[in-house]
């Protein structure tokens, strides 16, 4: 396959029998999907399971991806549903935050330590949000999706998503100001 094929070309190759071409889909989207799932579930290991399951499911159902040019949002939708499934199995919407903030190494200076503390603070504030608000905030501000793409991922209406993002921002800002 030539240099940088579009998602539509890759999907056509996979559906045409080139199973190995699915590796390109994985390489293209795994980082974003894992980042999203980790922020949703609070654990990188659990998130890796959710993303891996989601990608296998995506491969098996690739023929039903109606618009391969929107493969990215389709994948986020599958992984978002895997995350919801994990959260509902866990019984509560909050996340355990078992993941420690990045540990400073010997070369770290004061600025990077402060940065690690800030990250821990933001991650904790995010973990306290309801799953719906957490999902909306992460999709919007961490993954950089438009509200239209978010609607395709979540199946929610745009005004509902905007409201969730606004509430999430307010909650995060409150935590940041309390610790300022």
């Amino acid at each position: 396959m030539r240099g940088n094929p579009s998602d539509t070309e890759v999907v056509a190759r996979v559906l045409g029998g080139d199973r190995e071409a699915f590796g390109l889909v994985i390489r293209r989207y795994e980082t974003g999907l894992l980042r999203f799932a980790t922020r949703m579930l609070g654990s990188r290991d659990v998130a890796a399971d959710a993303v891996a399951e989601g990608l296998v499911r995506a491969y098996r159902h690739l023929a039903s991806c109606r618009d391969p040019s929107r493969l990215r949002t389709w994948l986020y939708r599958i992984v978002a549903n895997r995350c919801k499934s994990y959260l509902s199995r866990r019984g509560v919407g909050d996340v355990p935050l078992e993941e420690a903030p990045p540990v400073a190494d010997s070369t770290d200076n004061e600025a990077s330590l402060e940065r690690a503390e800030q990250l821990a603070l933001v991650a904790q504030a995010l973990a306290r949000l309801s799953p719906d608000k957490r999902e909306a905030f992460v999709l919007k501000h961490v993954e950089g999706l438009s509200y239209q793409e978010m609607a395709a991922v979540t199946g929610e209406r745009i005004p509902t998503l905007k409201m969730r993002v606004h509430r999430a921002r307010e909650a995060l800002l409150q935590v940041l100001e309390d610790h300022a």
């Binding site: 980082t31 199946g155 909650a171």
Partner: protein, 206 residues
């Protein structure tokens, strides 16, 4: 939770230019964006290393689908059956056959295992050239279980022996159009935002 100045949301949503905000509101916008950037930056962009794991699963045939396919293949293939029986038992067998022939029997279906049942799929697609059923019982593979319209009345049918349980499925019309069966036992929304039909296969073993 305190609500914040709506202009902050408007700036973050790209509805107004942040340069139009007074400095104190711009600082709030920067703060929220920095927080989001921290969450994103904690993940290095060089990949999550999931490819070997996912591709291994992709290369492995799905076990449940393979089991169903094997079962379907077995039912579709002629099987040689050999009986070894004692003469005394053969008399008993003959008597049983006579009894069964003389006593009016209720309608009998095919002999199935204790944990097997029959699923019937029926859909009306007058303009279709082909209809298949794909579902969790055949790993959502299209083209493996065709429906037939023998009398060309637009009603397509298939009968499949399946292990008991509940299965999600859809019809695939002309190889590309995915259609739920609105006459199904139940409908359920799937991971892709569409409605899947549910068929519940109960044991018909007697």
């Amino acid at each position: 939770m305190n609500s914040i100045d709506p202009r902050i949301h408007q700036a973050l949503d790209g509805e107004i230019a942040r340069e139009s905000l007074p400095p104190e509101l711009r600082r709030v916008v920067d703060r929220l964006e920095s927080a989001a950037a921290l969450l994103a930056a904690a993940f290095p962009p060089q990949g999550a290393g999931l490819e070997p794991r996912v591709m291994a699963a992709v290369r492995r045939p799905a076990p449940s689908g393979e089991r169903v396919r094997r079962l379907l293949r077995w039912f579709a293939t002629p099987q040689a059956v050999t009986f070894r029986i004692r003469p005394a038992w053969s008399l008993a067998l003959a008597a049983a056959i006579v009894l069964l022939t003389l006593v009016p029997a209720e309608e009998r279906g095919p002999a199935l295992g204790e944990h097997e049942g029959i699923a019937q799929f029926v859909g009306r697609f007058p303009d279709a050239h082909s209809v298949h059923v794909a579902g969790s019982f055949n790993d959502w593979r299209t083209g493996t279980i065709p429906l037939e319209d023998r009398d060309h009345d637009g009603v397509w049918r298939a009968t499949v022996v399946l292990p008991t349980g509940a299965y999600e499925y859809m019809f695939v019309v002309d190889g590309e159009r995915w259609v739920p069966d609105h006459w199904a036992d139940r409908l359920v929304e799937d991971d892709f935002g569409r409605e899947n039909s549910i068929v519940i296969v109960r044991a018909t073993w007697r």
